[in-house]
Structure formats: C-alpha cells, structure tokens
C-alpha cells in the first residue's frame, strides 16, 4: 500500500506491505539506520522513535501505522546542529557502545517535553523503558539533568 507521512520534517511516500514493521521500513527502505533494534519485542527501547512528538517503539509498529503521522528519528531530532540532549550526551560521557543512545535520547526528549524540570528519580523513571548494558545509566541521567538545567537557564 501507499503510505504518506512526515519524516523528519519532510513529506515521505512509501509503497510497502502494510504488515511490515516500522523499524524495518526506516532502516531498510529509508536508510535511517540510527533507529536500532535490540529485542524486537518492545522490551529494550533501542528502536524508539517519535510519533507526533511522543516516544514510540518502532519494532511494535506496522508500516500502516505510519500513515499521516509525523515521524522523528534520531537523524531528524535537530535541524540545526546538535540537539541539546545530543550535546549533553557527548559532554557528560553518556555514551559507550552507543547502540542504545538514539532511543535513549528520543525517550529523554519526550520526558523533558512533559516534565521540563525532572528530578533525577523522574529521569530514571522516564528512561526505565530503555535498556543500556554499558553505562550504568548515571552519566545518562547526568546528561538529561544538565539539558533540563540548560533549558531552564536559557529561558
């Protein structure tokens, strides 16, 4: 079927079997390999994307569910240089192997949208659907916390 949607701010049209997974469409058909897959069962969060600005798991979404939605992947989270979260992940050392990082950043973006001033406990809760096997999460929490402070100061 023909599926129209907005992908990283640009109109996209694909012709795909409606039952293919969104993560495969993004990675295989559209070359957006920043969206990762770690479990295929909605348990690890590596495939997180934003659907109409909310974090969703692209391994649990079918192609047809992309229709008429606004989709943001890690490649499109910022249209002007690095997103503040990306910048903070780098400077706070929140990346090791980096495989969970795109999903982690998109989940953090959703968290900050709903709760611009989270406590560290809030951040941990907000990221509890994203598994990271390398970092122990502390520097990720540092990065998200620093981003929220930075945005507060910028106001």
């Amino acid at each position: 079927m023909i599926i129209n949607f907005l992908l990283n701010g640009k109109k996209a049209t694909i012709n795909a079997e409606p039952n293919r997974r969104a993560v495969d469409i993004l990675r295989e058909d559209l070359g957006l390999t920043g969206t990762k897959e770690g479990c295929g069962a909605g348990e690890c969060g590596a495939c997180t994307i934003l659907v109409d600005g909310e974090s969703r798991l692209s391994c649990l979404m079918l192609a047809a569910q992309l229709a008429d939605r606004e989709i943001t992947t890690i490649e499109g989270i910022s249209d002007d240089g690095l997103h503040p979260l990306q910048d903070a992940f780098i400077s706070h050392g929140a990346i090791q192997c980096g495989f969970c990082t795109p999903g982690m950043i998109l989940s953090a973006a959703t968290l900050l949208k709903h709760n611009p001033h989270p406590t560290r406990a809030d951040i941990r809760t907000g990221l509890s659907g994203n598994l990271c096997r390398c970092t122990g999460y502390q520097k990720i929490v540092d990065a998200v916390e620093a981003t929220s402070r930075r945005e507060e100061q910028a106001k």
Partner: protein, 766 residues
C-alpha cells in the same frame, strides 16, 4: 566544538560520540546493500542427539529460497573454536546443545527465510543429556564429545603453593562452604550479526560485529578451508560485546553463505531469542572452599575445588577456569594453597568469555569466606581484608611474585575513610518499618592480558596522510570500552595535533595489523604501548624530514606543532601538508610492535594450562554497597555504591568512570537478578521480559574514586580497568546482606525469593 589537542589525563570526549548521538555511526548491523540476501540458521532444538535426517527438499522448493545448506556442504574441517576446534559450523552427525546449527538458509527476504527454516525437516534421535557437572563426571556418563581423550572433562588442573593440607591442620580456625553461581548472559543490545559477499576475484569480504577480526580470519580459514588471502574481515564499532563476541558467532556461517550467493551481499542477524540460545554465556560454577586462619585473622591456608560447566563446546572454558583458579584466593596473602579445577562439557548452552572471565564467579566465594571468617572472629570486615591484603613484592596465591603496582590496600583504606563507611551505623538506623539496612564491602582484583603461553602483542600503525593528518590504524576492536579514544589521546600527546586532524581506521584485516582480541582488559595497555612507540618514531621522522626543508642542522631546534613543524631557532615553519607531499608513502607510515611482559617466576604448578597462566599484572578494587532489604518481600534495594579502583594511572577520567560504573551495573544484575534458567539444556528465560538486566531504576548513584598508582610497564602508567569492576557487586551485596539480616548466602543471584526463604527460616528457628 573548537579544535583541541587530545592529551593524556584529560576527560576527552569519545571520538565516536558525535556519530553515535546522531545515529550516523555504522555498526555491522547497519550494513545492508542492494539485492540483499537474508540468511538464517535452523537450530537443533534438542540438547543431545544423533542427526538421522536433515531434509531440505521442501525448503528448497519454496519460491524465493536461494540456497539451503547442511553440514555436507561445508568445505574444510567444519570445526571452529578458539583453542579446541570442537564446534561444527553446521552439525553433521550429532548435536550437543539446543543451539547447534543444522542447516543454513539463504532467501530473498526475511519472511521467506523464516518460512523456509520451518520447512526443513530434521530428525534427531535423542541421546541421554548431560545437564550438570555431576552428570558429566559420573563414571558411566554418556560422552558429549566421544573423541575427547579425557571424556567429559575438558580440563582438570591444579594450582598449589606450600602445603595446604598440613597447614590447614595447624590453623586455629578452619571454615568450609560450598557456593553456586549461575549462567549469566552478556545481553549486548546489538545482537550477533554480519554481512558478507564474494567479490569477482573470489575473495570474501565479511563485515561483522566481532571482538577478534584477525582470529576470525584464521577460524574461517580452518573451518571452511578458504585461503587466508581470500578473506577480508572488517570490524566496525560494536554495539556491546563484553566477551560474547570473542569467538565465532555468525562468521563461518556467513562466509559459507556468501560462497553460495553469486556475489550478492548476504546478511545474518540473530534475533534476541537466538542470541540467548546460540550465543556464548558466563560459566556457571560450583565452588567448594576451605579456609584456614590464625585466631588473629591471618590467613594461613586455602583449599578449594572449582567445577566450571562449559556447556557443549570448549570455547575458552579451560582458560576461563584458569583465571578463576588464579584468582580463587582473592587479593590476599595466603602462604599455602591447593586449588583444583574441573572444566566439564555438558549439553548446556556454550559458556565462554565474559567480562570478569572466571573471576566474577570466585569473587563471590572467596569474599563470602572472608565474611564468614570475620563473623567467626567478630572482626571488622574491612580490618580483616586490610590485614591480609597483598602488597607489592608479595607472592600471590599462585606463587607469582608481584613486583608491579599492587594497590588493594590503598583501595580498602579509601573505603575505610569514606563517609559511607564511617557513618554507616547512623545510616542503618534510618531503615523504616519492615526494612533492614546493611553496608557491605568486597576486595577484588582482575588480571590483565593473556598470561603466559600466548604472546599478548599489538602492532600499531600510524601514518601522516597526504592531507597532513595523522591516521591511526587500530587492529583491536572498540566494543564500547573507548580504547579508540585513548589511542587518539596518545597520538595527540606525542604528535601535538588537534583532534580534527587525527583520523582512525577501525579493524580491517587489509588495512590494520593483527593486534589480538578486544579482551582481557588489554586493549589500551597493549595497543597503546605499541602506538606510543610508533608515534614517537613518526615524530622523530617528521622533524627529521622537516629539518631538510627548514635547513636545520640539529633536530633540537625543531618542534612538531598543530599542522606544522617549526624551527624554534629561526622561526621558520613547514606545514604538514607540504611535508607529506615531500615524503614517499612508505616514509609516512610507522609500525611498531609491543609484547606484554610476563611472569618470570618458574612455577612448579598449573602445568596443565597450555596458555593463560599465570599473569603478571592485576588491577584492584574495593567496593562498598549500601542496601535496604524489604523483610516482607525479601527484595534488595541498592541505595548507594562506592568503588575505589587501582588500575594504574588514569589516561581519561571520564572513560575510567564509564568503565567502573558500567561494570558495577552489570555486577548488580549478576548479584540480584540475572540467571539463565535451564531445563534439560533449554533456556527458559530467553528474552528481556524474563531475563532481567538492570534498568535505570535498578542502579543507584555510584561514586567512583581512582586510587593513584603508576604501573611502569603501562602506557603512561596505566593498567586495564575494563573488567575489575564486574567482580565487586555480588560479593559486596552478599556482605551487606549479612550486615543487614545476618543471612549468609551461598547461591546467587540474591533474589527476593531466596532471601525471603532465608528470612522465614530465621523466624522458624528461635
């Protein structure tokens, strides 16, 4: 970011960080290609049996199937394995664990692949299975490998020093206990995968998520008989590995597939369940300990028997056990030791390398023995450890003299001085109703490098490019540990170039040089040492060639500066681009080799180990954990964590902390929840819903302190820090549980269910 010179000792951000946060870093799994063929494996699904039939006819007839291959189609020996070549690429006669591959399918798309795999008709006649160490060792046990001369015993070995049996008789106190630790899964987020294709000249190129690209090449050569010069392995950054991608996973299967794909690219990507079933694991171990001490707490004698279950194939089972045995007595001075080990084949999933390689297991046992002793003596847990801590110049429990940095005493002292330890009594009193608090400590260590018998070598290559940049050719994988960034710091330090002018080539058997596996806490140490030599040679060469252009009659006046060489006496400069244009290609490349130093003591023990024993260098750590136990559920909540680590000098404080924190988190998983549950060789919990690794809420805020030390043989005084942190959380938590509730656990993980059962037992006994 403004250009800066990456230097030693600074918290330099990872060179791969920008690509990773923007999603542009290409991991092996991000390689596809036009006209891609998908490949996958039909697995045995039965733990032990004789293959009667693998009928591929129906699968072959399915439209969209490119090829279906079985063991009969494997050229070469059809045997893979790092030390023992005992594992078939595709099983032909018998299967030895549920994850054994019996057929390989190539198909046009994923859906067809799955359908074809289900159409393969496999008949396996079941054989009695070996699922425990006792089963394996029983005299009339069925054999997992009929051809193995020692039956189901992969390796039996002994390490002894002094006369433990006699010394034990003279001890004031002798304590005895048996411990069990389970199978742990690495659960890196990027599962095993790769892409391979055959070029027109016959060469097969393999892009793969691997910790050992050069060894992969030799493995494929052996298993498939493909000449070495017809193989190229490319190893991009990995999405985690922790030991689980050390050894063949998809490599031989993919190259075999590529030979049947007519030049098309073939991709294989194990899903999470397959990664659990077929991937490597941490060994489950049973450990019998006897520890003898004087009344004043001085350790006198240790005797122990360790039983490692290596599963269906050897992988590095013997070497994992060797390291466990070498660390079985902890970072302590014990004059008399008798340490025996059995590593046995079973029909369980394959156990192999994992961070804290054999050592995470024994750390639980030896530290619980120390806790038992401190309870018996009524002696402070930290004092007892300090009293027996190894010092530089001592002999360790294998009889190796330690002339190198040995910082366990300093690590323990730092913990002792810390408020979390000093103020623990007040903190414990703050526990709420039906909760109890405890503070525990553990002293751990981890060796570095391969040990004797296998040269721990790296070949560093560095080039001045035509564009005037410095290019480092790294032959050793970066699975997330950050060695690559350390290499850039070394080049920046010596060659004084800005980070934007330093490039990196990740492992590629055609471009980089063999530098061993990303393992054994060795990557930065060994490759870094080689790179220092190569960079110094390049600096000397660049100033030497610049002297010709700048008419300098002595090199003393010349300085290599960002983008140029300057004659400080005359003020004249030459840009590196101009220098590069003058120098022929071979003159712009420096290559240097480094070999890790080895133990010089002539030990009359451990002779069964062909490789991997003994080790000269160790990193040390003391861990402290504050836990709260819910008496109604038995659940442990980890509330605070402190790690003091001595791993020589710190080249990059941020990267050092990353290693410590990440290892603690994995260790907390190992301590509290992670246990691969097996039923007749089948994994019961093969997904993230049932195999629970720590999430952001399960890991506390951690404090990591580095204890100053200088390791003279290390690059800028460093030692490896990748593994030691893994060994602390389980014993520290077990110690805290004793402190909180008086429960001495002998089996891990320390689940709520197990603790609740112990709490109930306490209530029943008045």
């Amino acid at each position: 970011m403004n250009p800066y010179i990456p230097e030693i000792g600074k918290p330099v951000s990872r060179v791969d960080a920008a690509a990773k946060v923007t999603g542009t870093e290409k991991y092996a799994v991000d390689y596809y290609g036009n006209n891609l063929v998908w490949s996958g494996v039909r697995r045995a699904g039965i733990a032990h049996g004789r293959i009667r039939l693998v009928d591929t006819a129906a699968a072959l007839q399915l439209p969209g199937v490119v090829a279906v291959l079985t063991g009969k189609d494997v050229p070469g020996t059809n045997r893979q394995g790092i030390v023992h070549k005992d594992q078939p690429v595709l099983a032909l006669e018998k299967v030895r664990h549920c994850g054994d591959a019996v057929a390989l399918v190539l198909a046009e798309d994923r859906a067809t692949l799955q359908k074809a795999l289900s159409l393969i008709h496999v008949e396996i006649e079941p054989l009695p299975g070996i699922f425990t160490v006792d089963d394996a060792l029983s005299p009339d046990a069925p054999l997992v490998h009929e051809e193995h001369p020692q039956g189901n015993v992969l390796l039996k070995a002994t390490i002894q020093k002094g006369d433990a049996p006699s010394a034990m008789k003279g001890c004031d106190i002798v304590l005895e206990e048996t411990f069990h630790v389970p199978v742990q899964s690495h659960t890196f987020i990027e599962t095993e995968n790769g892409v391979a294709w055959q070029q027109e000249d016959g060469k097969v190129v393999l892009v793969v998520s691997t910790q050992a690209p050069f060894r992969d090449k030799w493995e494929i050569n052996h298993a498939l008989g493909l000449p070495l010069d017809k193989l190229q392995i490319i190893g991009p950054y990995l999405g985690g590995a922790f030991g689980g991608k050390d050894g063949a996973t998809v490599q031989c299967l993919l190259v075999l597939a590529a030979l049947h794909a007519g030049g098309r690219r073939v991709k294989m990507w194990w899903d999470r369940e397959e990664s659990f079933i077929a991937g490597y694991k941490r060994h489950a171990v049973r450990m019998h300990y006897r520890l003898g001490a004087r009344q004043d707490g001085t350790l006198q004698a240790l005797s122990c028997r360790l039983y490692y279950d290596t599963g269906a194939y050897a992988h590095l089972g013997g070497e994992v056990m060797a390291l466990g045995m070498e660390h079985a007595g902890g970072p302590y001075r014990i004059p008399h030791t008798l340490i025996e080990g059995w590593c046995v084949y079973t029909n369980n999933p394959i156990a192999g390398a994992m961070r804290g390689f054999g050592v995470a297991q024994v750390s639980f046992a030896f530290e619980q023995m120390m806790n038992k002793l401190s309870a018996k003596l009524g002696m402070d847990a930290l004092e007892l450890r300090l009293k027996n801590a190894l010092r530089r110049g001592d002999q360790n429990t294998s009889g190796v003299t330690l002339p190198q940095s040995t910082g366990i005493e300093d690590c323990l002292s730092r913990v002792q001085q810390h408020p979390l330890w000093r103020d623990r009594k007040a903190w414990k009193q703050g526990a709420g109703k039906f909760h109890k608090r405890g503070v525990g400590v553990a002293a751990v260590f981890n060796s570095m490098g391969y040990g004797r018998g296998l040269p721990d070598s790296a070949l560093a290559k560095v080039e001045l490019t035509q564009a005037g940049c410095i290019r480092i050719y790294s032959g050793v994988s970066d699975m997330g540990q950050g060695n690559t960034t350390a290499f850039v710091q070394i080049a920046g330090q010596i060659l004084c170039q800005e980070h934007t002018a330093i490039e990196l080539v990740q492992p590629d058997t055609e471009r980089t040089l063999p530098s061993g596996s990303a393992a054994a806490s060795r990557t930065t140490y060994t490759y870094g040492n080689a790179l220092i030599k190569a960079c110094e040679e390049l600096r000397h060469r660049l100033t030497g060639r610049a002297a010709l252009m700048l008419l300098a009659d002595t090199l003393d006046d010349l300085e290599l500066l960002p983008g140029r060489v300057k004659n400080l006496a005359s003020g004249r400069e030459i840009p590196l681009t101009a220098l590069a244009a003058m120098m022929p290609p071979e003159d712009r490349v420096c290559i240097s080799q480094f070999l890790m130093p080895v133990v010089r003591d002539k030990l009359d023990t451990g002779k069964e180990f062909v490789i991997g024993f003994p080790h000269l260098l160790f990193s040390y750590a003391a861990h402290l954990v504050c836990i709260e136990v819910d008496e109604l559920t038995g659940a442990i909540d980890v509330q605070a964590y402190l790690a003091t680590t001595e791993a020589g000098s710190v080249l990059n404080p941020q990267a050092f902390e990353q290693q410590v924190q990440g290892a603690i988190a994995q260790g907390i998983g190992y301590a509290l929840s992670e246990e691969v549950l097996l039923k007749e060789g089948h994994i019961v919990n093969n997904n993230f819903a049932t195999y629970i690794i720590p999430g952001a809420l399960d890991v506390p805020e951690m404090i990591s302190l580095s204890v100053a030390a200088y390791e003279p043989t290390g690059p800028y005084g460093m030692k490896g820090v990748g593994e030691v942190g893994m060994n602390g959380p389980l014993p520290a938590t077990a110690c805290a549980l004793i402190d909180a509730c008086g429960i001495h656990m002998t089996r891990s993980p320390l689940t709520a269910q197990r603790i609740l059962a112990e709490l109930q037992k306490q209530q029943e006994t008045p």
